[in-house]
Symmetry: C2
Subunit: 299 residues, 2 copies
């Protein structure tokens, strides 16, 4: 299979460099008495992560011929939204995590109040970027991006998923309930990242649906693979505290089915994700390779 | 002066009822394992407050002939954004306030994690509403509303103001520094509320500038009057903990100039606000009366 020839780590790094520069340019420079919140926004967003969501935006935008600077801007917006969710999730009143990407989490590096505010302002900036003229000449496309990001990340998306995660700690969930939790908590934003590229490129309805299905299955595969890493990885290897899910009694596919079956399910979802890309031919090889990568990575 | 004949409390209540219904209709209904965050969003947003920001949206929209349902939707969006900021500001790591509008603050009624998430999702919903087709048939107007709200509320607006407020506690600020703090922390969102009505009504540049100037001076007058109430009011009378500014060593105009001079400055700003409305004749009488009201209210 062609996709096997692709070095996904290198492709991720290539897009990550572009998006890192975009984030740097698109965040306010620390200044005045309020500089601390701007420093925290930069700390939380710059300098780390695989930039999976940014990769999806950039690759899907490229499939439909969207401009690279516009795609980088939308990718920066998604990464800011994602970073806000991590900053708030790490707070002592939430998951209470001291480490993120091997570094002190934002409230440990700064303080809790600054972390709350930095997360808030990162969310604001994500929407501001999407609505700005530089994102797309057509305001309808910009509104579509705002609406899709809001649906993916609000109470009926990512925030709802985080609420379910906390409300059901220690409870036994069914397979379907775990799938819904994970779809909301992480899947929707990953799916959005793929869809955003298609919106930017003004893809037709059939192509949009294929990309959405790819993003949905990829997101599900990614989350199960992440839970497997939490169960079998070391804190050093994954750059955040390992073994937290089991300690907290979190409902995961690993908890329900065990590591081996969870791995098999992730692989099946990754294959399904790649299967949605048939219509795009060799131009989608990097997206296919990414689906393999997310279930076979070591961190 | 004509404005004196207007019952501002009744006018506020009239718009508040319309906006209350809009908020109720535009927030998700509690359902599923995530229902707690939706309940908290409703608790934080429904059933209280003067709805000053909603009033400004509705009255300014009406000046330019915008539709009432669209104005109510934008007003609901601003109130959700405002409510998110109050929920987060009340958190123990921020202002640590147990009371809001005479009721337990959201983290006291629910818990801290739910309050963080409810605030997050209220912000998301505010932007989602603005970008939705029902707000305005022209997507450029919807993008303009998103951009203006983001500028007013992000790190260079409201969140920046909150950061300054916390970073400078116990420090002596100059008059100009206090004015900037207050402009960012509360002024920008009040100014946006007026401007949003003008954007909805597709006002021309001169009218937009007049409305922006009105909102700016009204917001400054409102905040100084609020600080006076904090200094001289009772907890029962103002529905939140009184005397907190002085106890926390907060920089306010009252702390700088004393109560009497602060009152005089608020009155001068209110008069200046009304002065910006000259071009609109009697149709702006309610907005003029509001300027009087914000500096003469008892709560």
């Amino acid at each position: 299979m062609l996709a096997e020839k692709i070095d996904v780590s290198a492709a991720l790094a290539e897009h990550a460099a572009v998006v890192e520069a975009a984030i740097d340019a698109l965040l306010p420079l620390p200044d005045g008495f309020e500089r601390r919140v701007m420093e925290a926004m930069r700390y939380a967003t710059l300098g780390g992560g695989k930039r999976l969501r940014a990769f999806l935006v950039m690759e899907c935008a490229s499939l439909f011929g969207a401009s690279v600077p516009a795609a980088a801007r939308v990718a920066a917006s998604v990464e800011m939204l994602h970073a806000y969710s991590l900053v708030h999730d790490d707070l002592p009143c939430m998951d209470d995590d001291d480490l993120r990407r091997g570094q002190p989490s934002t409230h440990r590096k700064f303080d809790e109040a600054t972390a709350v505010l930095a997360g808030d302002a990162l969310q604001t900036r994500a929407f501001e970027l999407l609505a700005g003229l530089a994102t797309h000449p057509d305001a309808d496309a910009r509104c579509a991006l705002v609406l899709a990001l809001a649906a993916a990340s609000g109470a009926e998306g990512m925030v709802g998923g985080q609420m379910i995660d906390m409300a059901t700690e220690g409870q036994a969930l069914t397979d379907a309930q775990v799938a819904r939790l994970q779809a909301l908590k992480t899947g929707r934003l990953i799916q959005y990242s793929a869809e955003a590229g298609a919106i930017l490129g003004r893809a037709g309805p059939a192509a949009q649906a294929s990309i959405a299905a790819y993003g949905r299955d990829l997101g599900a595969a990614f989350q199960i693979a992440d839970d497997v890493l939490d169960a079998v990885g070391t804190t050093e290897g994954i750059g955040k505290t390992a073994g937290k899910d089991e300690a907290a009694g979190k409902a995961t596919v690993v908890a329900l089915l065990g590591v081996e079956q969870a791995r098999a399910r992730a692989a099946a979802l990754a294959a399904a994700a790649a299967g949605h890309l048939q219509a795009f031919g060799a131009r989608a090889d990097r997206l296919r390779a990414l689906a393999d990568y997310v279930v076979n990575r070591g961190h």
